[in-house]
């Protein structure tokens, strides 16, 4: 653990600060996490296609942002040096600049229906201890160009190599951030089972599934859960970062009803989250969309063990009252403010977040989801400075 302090007047290291807010304790200062993955190539003026393909360009760009705009506490490590591995964990078709898109645009997702209703049945027939990885590997050739035409053995070898490449790169990348005194946010990350089904089926067929085969959705997600959790724990231990980021892109109230969340999605979420916590690892629930009506159900998860990331569509100020005594809240400076607002607006919003959501601890200041590629650097500086100006307890 790095003993280096981020600011002179800090009493805790970044790691101690993060651990304290997860336990809902009041640390010395509000910690800050900056998700600069999409923003960095445009700030550093490197070609986006080079940034996603050449690790050395990635490292140069992302470090330059820290040197120009930092410091902050938590390195939000979305650094997919292996596109194949990134596809495996996110289970979405990724469109990369230079490959599928023009050279200087940000990475995007192309959503299309690659999973069929009978795939739920196939999942139910799998062995539980392997189901998550077997299912993902089986689906990959349907949406990921890098695996097209590969037989099962070559596919597995390619995936293993991808994980090795990614792991080695993470270790190399993290060393530098630790030397700066930062704590690394993510030891492993993956799309949660039901969210993955929604992406893989796409919204219209998945909405129909919710009416026509709800039990199968629930059971298939439950079947994937133990191996999802076990694999996450294994990788987090390998990377030595005791946090797993679980993406819940499609289980907000914008996509499914609170009842569907409770009956179909929550059981697998609970299984995964509890297993991860039992292994001494912190789950980070990346909850895009409006989660307000799901918060009561989330309270059934263990207290003071989870980070809840909100993206601006959930009212984080109300969430503080609803669940702030149960989970550490993370967010949520809106992307729109960072792109179109002024430094004063960003400063005011961060001040409000720190005062209201940061009250008593249990809060990490961050953008709502990612920092957009076209955010203004002066707005990011205002965000960074806000924890120094207002964040000390």
């Amino acid at each position: 653990m790095s003993q280096k302090k981020i600011y002179e007047k800090d009493r805790l290291t970044a790691e101690e600060r993060l651990e304290a807010v997860i336990r809902l304790e009041q640390p010395d200062r509000v910690p800050l996490s900056m998700m600069i993955y999409n923003y960095s190539p445009f700030h550093a003026k490197v070609k986006a296609s080079d940034y996603v393909h050449k690790p050395s360009v990635y490292l140069k760009a992302i470090r330059q942002v820290y040197e120009d705009i930092g410091p902050w506490d938590i390195y939000y490590n979305i650094n997919p040096v292996s596109k194949l591995t990134y596809s495996f964990v996110m289970m979405m078709r990724l469109l990369y600049p230079g490959d599928d898109l023009p050279e200087n645009v940000m990475t995007q997702i192309e959503e299309f229906e690659y999973m069929q209703p009978e795939d739920y049945d196939q999942i139910l027939q799998m062995k539980s201890n392997l189901a998550n990885n077997v299912f993902r590997a089986r689906m990959l050739p349907r949406f990921c160009k890098e695996t097209e035409g590969l037989g099962p053995i070559r596919l597995r070898s390619k995936l293993a190599l991808g994980f090795l490449k990614q792991g080695l790169f993470w270790i190399r990348d993290q060393r530098w951030w630790r030397e700066q005194g930062l704590v690394i946010q993510i030891g492993y990350q993956a799309e949660m089972p039901i969210d993955m089904f929604s992406m893989a089926r796409t919204v219209i067929p998945f909405s129909m599934d919710l009416f026509q085969r709800p039990e199968k959705i629930r059971e298939a997600a439950m079947k994937l859960s133990p191996s999802f959790a076990d694999w996450s724990i294994r990788i987090a231990r390998y990377t030595r970062i005791p946090r797993v980021q679980c993406y819940c892109h499609r289980t907000s109230n914008n996509f499914i009803s609170p009842r569907q969340f409770e009956e179909l999605a929550f059981p697998s979420m609970e299984e995964i989250v509890c297993r991860i916590i039992d292994a001494g690892i912190t789950p980070i629930l990346h909850c895009d969309g409006d989660w307000m009506k799901n918060l009561k159900v989330l309270r059934r998860l263990p207290a003071k063990k989870i980070i809840l990331q909100l993206d601006g569509l959930t009212d984080i100020f109300r969430a503080k009252d609803e669940i702030g005594d149960h989970m550490c809240l993370f967010g949520d400076v809106p992307a729109e403010k960072l792109v179109m607002g002024s430094p004063q607006e960003v400063d005011e919003y961060c001040h409000r977040l720190i005062t209201e959501v940061g009250r008593g601890g249990g809060f990490i200041l961050a953008a709502g989801c990612e920092i957009p590629y076209n955010a203004k650097s002066e707005n990011l500086r205002a965000m960074v400075q806000s924890v120094y100006k207002y964040g000390y307890y």
Binding site: V105, V203, I204, M208, F211, N253, F255, G289, M340
Partner: protein, 215 residues
Amino acid sequence: MDRLVKFREIFLAFRIDSIDTEIEDLLQTGLSSPELLQACQKCMEEIGKKFEEGAYFLPELVMAGEMFKKVSARLRPHISPGSEEVAGKIVLGTPKGDLHSLGKDIFGMLAEASGFVVHNLGVDVAPETFVEKLKETGAPILGMSALITTAFDPMQEVVRLLEEEGIRERTYVIIGGGVTTKDMVGRLKVDAQTWDAYEGLRIVQSFMDEKEETK
């Protein structure tokens, strides 16, 4: 009408597999296509109200939309062009640089079900294309949806082009999508913003009411 009781039950229970047979049966009994389509639109309104009240969520809207599409595809060829009341025309799309389509498609489906003619231009639409389509169709409403901030500059450019072409005054502009905020109404000089497809429908309906009043 008694003959429509079962149709309503099927529609409001989202029994999509039974809707085709029910339509055929009703047509056999002599019910006209416009009457059936109207019944379908009433069901859509009921579902929309439940969505507004917070009793229904996206899956119900999607199911209703899919059922409406089925009914509409079966009946529309039998309805003479120009006989249906048109609620208004909308040009719709996701601006250049953004490839997301879901939000605008759901809004478009709801608007169609409410009698609007929707010109859906798809995703990654250039600012000039929006303006050309507005001029070509004479549509008084433009809807642009975005999930990433890449779309902000093109949205701004569309508004600028509308002014340059002298059609901003006659065009209501509504933006939507997860990344947009109410603050953008002022910043981009558009008329409205929403995160909710049904609220979007209410807004475009209010635009049309306003247009009627100022006639």
